[in-house]
Amino acid sequence: MEKYLNKGIKDLISEFPKVGDILNEYNIGCVPCSVGSCLLKDIVQIHNLSSGDEEELIARIARVIYPGRKIKIPKVQRKAKPKSKEMEPTRAIPRLHSGWLVDGERPSTLLRTSKVPSEIEGRSRTKARDSCGRNTERPEHIRGLKAEVLGRECIKYSPPLKRLVDEHILIKKWIRLIPTVIKNIDIESESDRRLIIDGMEFIKYYADGFHHAKEEDILFEYTDKNLDIIKAILQDHETARGHVRAIFEGLKTKDKESIIEHLNGYKDLLTEHIKKEDEILYPWIDRNLSTKQVGELFSKFDEAEEKIDKEVVEKCKRFVVEETQRIEKIKQEVLK
């Protein structure tokens, strides 16, 4: 089993597709990852599973790899969890030997979720819906997992990371419009071409210039850019840029099929990318940032935003709001 813990996840899933399904049940979404070079042991660590849940997950994977055989389940090595982040005010984000997480790192979850009194007193929460109003029902075999592990509880971000998450909300609004745009696309119509151009400019100036730039130029400086997770995120950014270039090219040559293909490609990529950042990358970075670093990041984001033309950012925001309203209106008219 040890050798499989040190195997890249993409290779493991292609050899044993059932492993992907098991990881999905624990809300570990490696299946659609474009890189997939992270090692199984690192993936288990970064998702903050309790030791019991981790053993159960690895045991289930072992049963898939070695059906019918009794396998000794190795424990993923971890260092002791620090008592408080305040103990090391200038601690840098741990460096990885390989994969996503430093060897044995088990960061504190204090900042991850908002603790309600019942949790403070050590009582478990068994409501069908969590404080965000989301359904917390889950399959019986993983019912014992903490909600935060399953990503179904409100994740609390530090202020700079929260800013990036809020920017995702606007980007996701545009992504949600893409299927309707594709459905009604008329490549000869000037207004449809304008809509796609505006959508691409939104991506270029807001999603890429405003949002991705803060990640690449500032946030990732607080991480090791050789980490697989950072490489995967940077690769996603490049792939997204490729889709945008292809869409502009398609507009020039009036290649409707290509435009649709790349709009869909962008939608699928960014949907998964944002989920990965919101649920895995940002919480992990947050757990490893000291208070001092959070303050630094916050002011660096402020400085970066000062340099960007505010009118362009506002125009991008208006575009998504207006298009959402316009498409909603069309949908309602169709329903009538």
Binding site: S84, M87, L111
Partner: protein, 154 residues
């Protein structure tokens, strides 16, 4: 049953047995400034400039065993009592000045779990809202026996 104000209700949590653990050796103070009371400090003092500031309720330091090592280290401090101190409008102005003039990096507000102590977080929020600059504020709530109940960015 109503027991009066939770902030002043008597509770006895003396330990029956002596605390185990290594008590040998001396612990260095992590305090790097004087004064520390919020009425007495000047936001223009050099130790506040671009600092990570800890705004602590008076009782916190007596409650958290490792206060110096875990929370004060690397920070500049101001202390106040949101229940008993007078002139709390001045507190808002001083924190606002720490944010705008001293350009502090972050503000961590440590309070006790008793309801009246939440007033210190409210003062910090009010100062942040009236300040021109924005900074991250973290709230740490301490239990009466020194445990950390929550640690959240405001």
């Amino acid at each position: 049953m109503m027991d009066g104000c939770p902030g002043s209700r008597m509770q006895d949590f003396r330990k029956k047995e002596e605390t185990k653990g290594d008590e040998s050796g001396k612990r260095e103070s992590q305090l790097g400034q004087w004064p520390i009371q919020l009425h007495l400090v000047s936001p223009m003092a050099p130790y506040y400039e671009k600092a990570d500031v800890l705004l602590s309720a008076d009782c916190v330091a007596y409650t958290v065993g490792d206060f110096h090592k875990d929370y004060l280290k690397g920070k500049s401090i101001a202390i106040a009592c949101p229940k008993l101190d007078e002139g709390q409008d001045e507190y808002v102005e001083k924190i606002k000045s720490l944010i705008d003039d001293a350009k502090i990096n972050t503000l961590t507000v440590m309070t006790m779990q008793v309801p009246c102590c939440a007033g210190l977080v409210a003062i910090a929020r009010q100062a942040l809202e009236s300040a021109k600059r924005k900074i991250p504020i973290k709230s740490i709530v301490v239990s009466l026996q020194g445990g950390i109940l929550s640690e959240d960015w405001v």
